[in-house]
């Protein structure tokens, strides 16, 4: 059973369309909002997310930038300080590494260093994830790095509704919010209730209720977790799936609640295990819910290797449904 069952009329759209609708809405409804990034305009976005928006809104509000990640992310921060509400698209998290200084040393720190005088209401969107044979330099899942930094908020829309509405909430937030969109999700489609609206961006959500074991995951791995849950259901294993949605802050209460409910936990993360997001979730569970656990926690993460190009190697490096199912069997000992 899914918890967010639509009550009224629904619209079916792809994840890509949902993100585009979110951007269109934001730009149409607030003069301060504009989209800026590499090839967001004339090219239509490297993942075709902003296709058509350039013709609709023009080059001031759908602003193409040169290849200058540090420069235009910094410019977005400045525009935010100057009263605008920029949505800055960095093509992918891989290239955001060239803008890491601006994100970590400027966006995340100004409010604090100015003694509360200067907040930075910027939204930075970027693609994350592997699985399409793009090679190691184009396949990073580094959202956990950004979630490490106080001063940033980090969200990962995994559903069509979140893809559609997280942006609106991020733009209302007075501080920097980074939105990670998993590349594999853009083509996925689903229903959004026609009267849906801005969603909360600080909390996790249960996407499937279950009693025997919990899977905690986010972003591109949610669909794999739900598929695994279906397979397990057929075997009589009732799986609860928690979608983190927000990676910073982490919804610790929701994490502890699901552990208290099922007493068994598998964490699925496309990032690497070492010093990563999955390690943090596990740490919180062991700090506050250790005695709730009936079995050691299992983690299903990327193998600790740069993501290889060859398909069989890439797939072997990434969490798969079968790995999740196997991990569940292991924590259940059946």
């Amino acid at each position: 059973m899914t918890v967010t069952e639509p009550r009224h009329a629904t619209v079916t759209m792809t994840y890509r369309e949902a993100v585009r609708e979110g951007i269109r809405d934001a730009i149409a409804s607030d003069d301060r909002v504009f989209l800026m990034g590499e090839d967001v305009g004339r090219y239509g976005g490297c993942y075709a997310v902003s296709k058509g928006l350039f013709d609709e809104f023009g080059d001031e509000r759908i602003r193409d930038t040169p290849l200058s990640e540090s420069g235009f992310v910094g410019a977005g921060i400045g525009a935010a300080l100057g009263g605008m509400r920029p949505i800055v698209e960095v093509m992918t998290v891989n290239f955001a590494l060239l803008a890491l200084d601006q994100i970590v040393n400027t966006a995340a720190l100004y409010l604090h260093m100015s003694g509360g005088q200067f907040n930075v209401p910027i939204v930075i969107r970027m693609v994350t994830g592997a699985g399409r044979q793009l090679g190691a330099q184009h396949s990073h899942s580094l959202e956990g790095w950004f979630a490490h930094v106080p001063g940033l908020k980090v969200v990962a829309p995994a559903t069509i509704e979140d893809a559609r509405w997280m942006l609106a909430s991020a733009l209302v937030d007075p501080d920097p919010v980074i939105i990670f969109e998993h590349a594999a999700l853009y083509g996925s489609s689903g229903e959004v209730s026609a009267d849906s609206g801005p969603v909360d961006i600080n909390s996790a959500r249960i996407r499937r209720r279950g009693d025997d074991v919990s899977i905690i995951t986010h972003g591109g791995s949610l669909a794999k977790a739900l598929t695994a849950a279906d397979e397990l259901d057929a075997l009589g294993i009732s799986t609860e799936v928690l979608d983190l949605r927000s990676l910073r802050p982490l919804d610790t209460a929701a994490i502890l609640d699901t552990v208290a409910h099922t007493h068994r936990l598998v964490i699925v993360d496309e990032g690497w295990k070492s010093v990563g997001l999955s390690a943090e979730i596990l740490a919180r569970v062991s700090e506050d819910a250790l005695w709730e656990l009936d079995a050691p926690v299992m983690r299903v993460c990327a193998v600790e290797v740069p993501i290889p190009y060859a398909m069989h190697m890439e797939q072997a490096a990434l969490p798969q449904v079968a790995d999740i199912v196997a991990a569940v069997h292991k924590v259940l000992d059946r």
């Binding site: 040169p66 200058s68 420069g71 399409r132």
Partner: protein, 323 residues
């Protein structure tokens, strides 16, 4: 002419790159090649002309659009294609793919898919050569899109400041994905940016392989003589889409067709035929030789094997490489 074999060699090299990449595009359609595939078609004269002037021991750093550079360096076509097939016989063991061709024998240091990412690496290779006191040159290739990156400016400054033996080769094909140069730069004379770092910088017709070769020869001689870095802006054009995912919304067919009239292979071949340096029979023979090499490359890639999955973590630390 100093080197009577050169015209035929350059022509054959360009034909080889062209036909090889046409085959790649075909193989991509049938999903033998996956991931990103960036074709160099239209730009062959650049890598061909520059690399022809390099000597064994010189280094090359390139981008994700580097099949031509690898071929011009003499990397075996079969091993390049096997890489794109993800086979263990590939130059990078199938770990890299089209964008990450590496070859120690010919000193090809990638295949870097981060725009601007190769420039500082080239500076470092040249620094090592300078510290070791040899007279090697490092040629680094990058698109005009990279000129907007901080790494471009930082690298230019370092190379000039330390008088390093770097040949900067800016492959100006006018577009960075869909962003035309005039939408990315106010000063479109890229050589002026190089001049700001006090290095000799020349604009070169990148559709004319002899012009490229002459400019590169002059620059390389001067660099080897200790004159420090040189900069070539090679004006060229990519005839195909940026990658296989690009619907080309940002440019007219007319513009593409106009540039195709300056096809570097056609113009060179016509010139050589007119001057009776290469006859049409000889050109047909070149095409035939190339076709045979490409068939062999495809057969090699097809026959390649998949690296066993239990070796997945093999190339993370050096101690595991020899395993």
């Amino acid at each position: 002419m100093k080197d009577p074999d050169q015209p035929r060699r350059l022509l054959k090299q360009m034909v080889m790159i062209r036909r090889f990449e046409e085959k790649c595009a075909e193989l991509y359609q049938v999903e033998k090649i996956r991931g990103f595939l960036h074709l160099y078609i239209g730009e062959e004269a650049v890598a061909t002309g520059v690399i022809d002037t390099l000597e064994a021991g010189d280094a090359v750093v390139a981008t994700y659009r580097e099949h031509g550079h690898a071929l011009a360096l003499g990397v075996e076509p079969g091993r390049i294609l096997a890489e794109m097939y993800g086979k263990a016989e590939g130059v990078s063991m199938g770990r890299g793919g089209s964008m990450h061709l590496f070859d120690a024998d010919t000193r090809l240091f990638g295949g870097n898919a981060i725009v601007g990412g190769g420039l500082p690496v080239a500076v470092g290779l040249a620094l090592a050569d300078k510290l070791k006191g040899n007279d090697r040159v490092t040629a680094v290739f990058f698109g005009e899109g990279a000129v907007a990156e901080g790494e471009f400016h930082e690298s230019m400054n370092l190379a000039a400041l330390w008088r390093l033996p770097v040949l900067f080769c800016c492959e100006n094909n006018l577009y960075a994905m869909g962003t035309a140069l005039n939408r990315a730069q106010t000063q479109m004379r890229i050589t002026l940016k190089a001049s700001a770092y006090e290095m000799p910088a020349w604009e070169v017709d990148g559709m004319d392989v002899l012009a490229v070769s002459q400019a590169a020869t002059r620059a390389v001689e001067s660099i080897r003589g200790g004159a420090g870095p040189h900069f070539l802006e090679l004006r060229t054009y990519r005839f195909r889409a940026h990658s296989m995912f690009d619907p080309e919304l940002y440019r007219d067919k007319d513009e593409v067709n106009k540039w195709k009239l300056r096809d570097p292979i056609e113009t060179f071949r016509t010139m050589l035929e007119a001057d009776a340096i290469v006859t049409s029979d000889e050109f047909a023979a070149i095409e035939a030789e190339v076709a045979v090499e490409i068939d062999a490359a495809v057969a090699f890639a097809e026959a390649g094997t998949l690296e066993p999955i239990h070796d997945l973590t093999r190339f993370v630390h050096s101690e595991e490489v020899a395993r």
